[in-house]
C-alpha cells in the first residue's frame, strides 16, 4: 500500500505537513532542548545520512552490504586527518565523501558479477578487516588510541554554542542529501534501481544498464556513508577503530529495516530509534537494546518488510481513503468512474459476515 492510492491533493498536504514539521524541528531544536539531547539528535541525524546511503543500495537496488562500517571509517579518518592538518572543516567533507565513494566503487566492481549472497560475504570480509587495517596504519590513524577531532568554534556574529552550530551544519547537509535522494529515487534512476532489485534480467532487457547502475549506486552509497562518517567524527569529536566494527554495520542495517527498506524517510526514523533506544534501555540492561534490534530484524522481515514507514503509510492510507471514496460517489464524476467507486465503497462498508443478523 503506498500513498499513491490517495488523491494528489491529500498527498500534497501530507508532504507539506512532513516538510513543515521537519523544518520546525531543524530550526527550533537547538534553542529548545538541552545540549546533550541536541547532541543525541545530531548523532541520529548523521547516522540517518549513512543509513540513507545504505538504503539506496540495499533497500532500492537490493544489493546487501554489511561493510558500511568501512565506508564510515574511510570518511571519518580522511576528514579527521585533513582537518587536523589545517584544511577547512567544510572543505574537508568533500574528500571524505570522495575517498569513501572511490572505495565503494572498487567494492562495487566484484558486485557486478556477484549475486546477493556472495556480495554479503565480501562485505562481511570488508567489515571485519576494517579494524585491523586501522590499527595497522597507526602512524596515520593513531591506531587503537584513535584521533581527537577538534570541534570548530562558530563564527562570532552568530552567538551560537558549538553544539548548536554543528547541528545547523549537519541539518543543512542532511536536508540537502535527503532531498537529493528523494529526487533520485522518484525518477528514472529509482525505477532502474528497483528493476535491478526485483528482476535483474528483466531490467536488462528493458534497457537498464545494470552494470553502470550497480557500481554507481555502490559508489554513491559508500560516499554518503563516508560523508556521514566525517560528520560523525565532527559531532562526536573523536574517531577510533572501536567505533567502526561489524556490529556497527549491523546497527545501520537494523536502522534501515526498522525505518523501512526502500524508503527515504525511513532512514531518519530508523537512525533516531537506534540512537535513542540504547539510552532508554540501558537503564534496564546494556544488552537489551541489541536484543530488541535482533528481534526487530527477524519479526519485521516476517510480517512487515516496509518497516515503520511502511506501517505508517498503510495506516495513513486506510484512514484517509474512506472519505475520498464517498466524495467520488457524491460528486459529478463520469458515470463509469462514479459507479466503480460506489461499488468499491459499498463493498468496503459491508459489515463482517459474523455480525450480520
Amino acid at each position: 500500500m503506498t500513498l499513491r492510492e490517495l488523491d494528489s491533493r491529500t498527498r500534497r498536504w501530507i508532504a507539506i505537513g512532513v516538510v513543515a514539521a521537519i523544518a520546525v524541528c531543524a530550526i527550533a531544536f537547538p534553542f529548545l532542548i538541552s545540549s546533550y539531547a541536541l547532541y543525541q539528535f545530531n548523532v541520529a541525524l548523521v547516522l540517518a545520512v549513512g543509513v540513507l546511503g545504505l538504503n539506496l543500495l540495499t533497500g532500492y537496488a537490493g544489493q546487501i552490504s554489511l561493510g558500511h562500517n568501512a565506508f564510515f571509517a574511510f570518511g571519518a579518518y580522511t576528514f579527521a586527518i585533513l582537518w587536523s592538518h589545517g584544511v577547512n572543516y567544510v572543505v574537508a567533507l568533500v574528500p571524505a565523501f570522495a575517498v569513501a565513494m572511490v572505495v565503494g566503487f572498487v567494492i562495487g566492481l566484484p558486485a557486478l558479477r556477484l549475486k546477493g549472497l556472495y556480495l554479503a560475504i565480501v562485505t562481511v570480509g570488508l567489515a571485519i578487516t576494517t579494524e585491523p587495517l586501522i590499527n595497522r596504519l597507526t602512524p596515520l590513524t593513531g591506531g587503537p588510541q584513535g584521533l581527537i577531532v577538534i570541534q570548530p568554534a562558530p563564527p562570532d556574529w552568530t552567538g551560537l554554542t558549538t553544539g548548536q552550530w554543528l547541528w545547523l551544519i549537519t541539518a543543512a547537509i542532511a536536508v540537502a542529501v535527503f532531498v537529493m535522494a528523494r529526487n533520485l529515487v522518484r525518477g528514472r534512476v529509482g525505477r532502474a534501481l528497483i528493476a535491478i532489485r526485483e528482476n535483474e534480467v528483466a531490467g536488462l532487457t528493458m534497457g537498464v544498464d545494470v552494470a553502470a547502475y550497480k557500481t554507481g549506486i555502490f559508489a554513491l552509497s559508500g560516499g554518503l556513508a563516508g560523508l556521514a562518517g566525517a560528520l560523525y567524527a565532527l559531532v562526536v569529536g573523536f574517531v577510533g577503530p572501536g567505533s567502526f566494527t561489524l556490529i556497527f554495520s549491523i546497527f545501520l542495517l537494523v536502522a534501515m529495516v526498522i525505518g523501512g527498506l526502500g524508503t527515504v524517510m525511513g532512514a531518519l526514523v530508523g537512525a533516531t530509534v537506534i540512537e535513542f533506544l540504547p539510552t532508554w534501555a540501558s537503564g534496564i540492561n546494556q544488552s537489551l537494546s541489541s536484543i530488541i534490534y535482533a528481534a526487530a530484524l527477524i519479526l519485521l522481515m516476517m510480517v512487515a518488510r516496509g518497516g515503520l514507514i511502511g506501517l505508517l503509510t498503510s495506516a495513513t492510507v486506510r484512514v484517509l481513503r474512506q472519505p475520498k471514496a464517498r466524495l467520488f460517489a457524491d460528486s459529478a464524476q463520469p458515470r463509469g468512474a462514479a459507479e466503480e467507486s460506489t461499488t468499491r465503497s459499498q463493498s468496503r462498508e459491508l459489515p463482517p459476515k459474523g455480525r450480520r443478523s
Binding site: 540495499t58 537490493g62 546487501i64 554489511l66 566484484p110 558479477r113 556477484l114 549475486k115 546477493g116 549472497l117 556472495y118 554479503a120 560475504i121 565480501v122 562481511v124 570480509g125 570488508l126 571485519i128 578487516t129 585491523p132 587495517l133 590499527n135 595497522r136 534480467v201 561489524l246 556490529i247 549491523i250 542495517l253 537494523v254 529495516v257 527498506l261 540492561n285 544488552s287 541489541s290 536484543i291 534490534y293 535482533a294 528481534a295 526487530a296 530484524l297 527477524i298 522481515m301 516476517m302 518488510r305
Partner: protein, 293 residues
C-alpha cells in the same frame, strides 16, 4: 625449513577448524540455498554451553558431546521457528533474518555469560610430538582426526543412507523432491540440526586456542566463508580441502609476508574471497550453475 614445516603443520590444524565450520555452511547452503551468517554464533553459544557443563564438573569430552546434542536440537528449533516461516521470501530478507540471529545470539550470550575472556579446556592431552623437526601438539592432530571422522561420517550418511539420498535430492531440486514424496521440511530441519552440531564441534576445537568469548567466532566465520567460497558452496569435500589450504596460506602469509603480519591475517581471507569470486565464482570443486531465464 624447520619453521616452514612448523607453520604448515599449524596451518593445517587451524585449517581443519575452518573446514569443519565451512562444512556446516555448505550443508545449510545445499538444503536451503542461502548462507547462515549466524553459523559462527550458533557454534559459539554451543561452546559456552559445554563450558558451563565443565564448570559443573562434567568432564570435557562428555561436556562437548552433550553440547553437540543440544546444538543439534537447537539448530532444528531455530529452523522451525525462524527460517521456515520465511519460506518463499526474497534472499535479502533471509540474509537479514540470519543477521538478526547473529546479533541476537551474540548479545544473549554476552548477557548470560559476560564478555570476559574465558579459558576452555582442550579435549585432547597436552603432549607434544616431535616429527621431522616440527613440534606437533597432540591437540592439533586431534583436530585433524576429528575433521577426518566428520567428513567420513557425512559422506557415509550422504551416500549410504536413505536420509542421505533424500538430502542430496533436496539439494538438487526442492520442489521435485517434494513431488516424489520426500518430507522436504523435515530434511531441511535435520540439515540445520546437523550443521549446528558441526558448528558445536568447530567451536569446541577453536575455544582452547582462541579462548572463549562472544567475539571468538568472527574471524573463524569469515575464514570458513572464504573456505566455502574457494571450495565451492555446494561441495562438502571442496569446502574441507579449501579450509585446509586457507589455514596454511593464512599462517604462511602472516609469517613470511611482512605487510600482512599477524594482525592483518584476516585481510587474506577477504582477498581470497574477492579473487575466487572474480576468477572462478563456482569455486574449485563447485558445480557451475547456469540459470535459465
Amino acid at each position: 625449513v624447520k619453521l616452514l614445516v612448523q607453520e604448515i603443520v599449524d596451518g593445517i590444524a587451524t585449517g581443519a577448524i575452518y573446514g569443519i565450520l565451512a562444512l556446516a555452511l555448505v550443508i545449510i547452503y545445499r538444503s536451503t540455498s542461502f548462507i547462515n551468517f549466524a553459523q559462527g554464533e550458533m557454534a559459539m553459544v554451543s561452546t559456552f554451553l559445554a563450558w558451563q557443563l565443565t564448570q559443573w564438573n562434567v568432564g570435557v569430552v562428555p561436556a562437548i558431546l552433550i553440547s553437540i546434542g543440544l546444538a543439534f536440537v537447537g539448530g532444528m528449533l531455530i529452523q522451525a521457528a525462524v527460517i521456515r516461516p520465511m519460506e518463499g521470501a526474497p534472499e535479502l530478507a533471509l540474509v537479514i533474518v540470519t543477521v538478526g540471529l547473529f546479533l541476537g545470539i551474540n548479545q544473549m550470550t554476552g548477557l548470560i555469560w559476560g564478555h570476559e575472556v574465558k579459558s576452555f579446556p582442550s579435549a585432547f592431552p597436552d603432549e607434544v610430538l616431535s616429527i621431522a623437526g616440527a613440534r606437533i601438539g597432540v591437540g592439533k592432530l586431534g583436530v585433524l582426526a576429528v575433521l577426518l571422522v566428520e567428513i567420513g561420517l557425512l559422506y557415509g550418511i550422504l551416500l549410504g543412507t536413505r536420509f542421505g539420498l533424500a538430502m542430496r535430492a533436496v539439494a538438487v531440486n526442492l520442489e521435485s523432491s517434494e513431488l516424489v514424496g520426500i518430507p522436504t521440511r523435515r530434511i531441511v530441519m535435520l540439515a540445520w540440526g546437523i550443521a549446528t552440531a558441526l558448528g558445536a564441534v568447530a567451536g569446541a576445537m577453536v575455544a582452547p586456542q582462541l579462548f572463549l568469548w562472544p567475539g571468538m567466532m568472527f574471524p573463524v566465520l569469515i575464514y570458513s566463508m572464504a573456505a566455502a567460497t574457494l571450495g565451492g558452496f555446494d561441495s562438502p569435500l571442496g569446502a574441507v580441502l579449501a579450509g585446509l589450504i586457507l589455514g596454511v596460506v593464512e599462517n604462511l602469509a602472516g609469517t613470511y609476508i611482512t605487510i600482512v603480519g599477524p594482525d592483518l591475517k584476516i585481510a587474506v581471507a577477504l582477498l581470497v574471497i574477492v579473487i575466487v569470486l572474480l576468477v572462478r565464482p563456482s569455486g574449485l570443486f563447485g558445480s557451475h550453475v547456469s540459470v535459465r531465464v
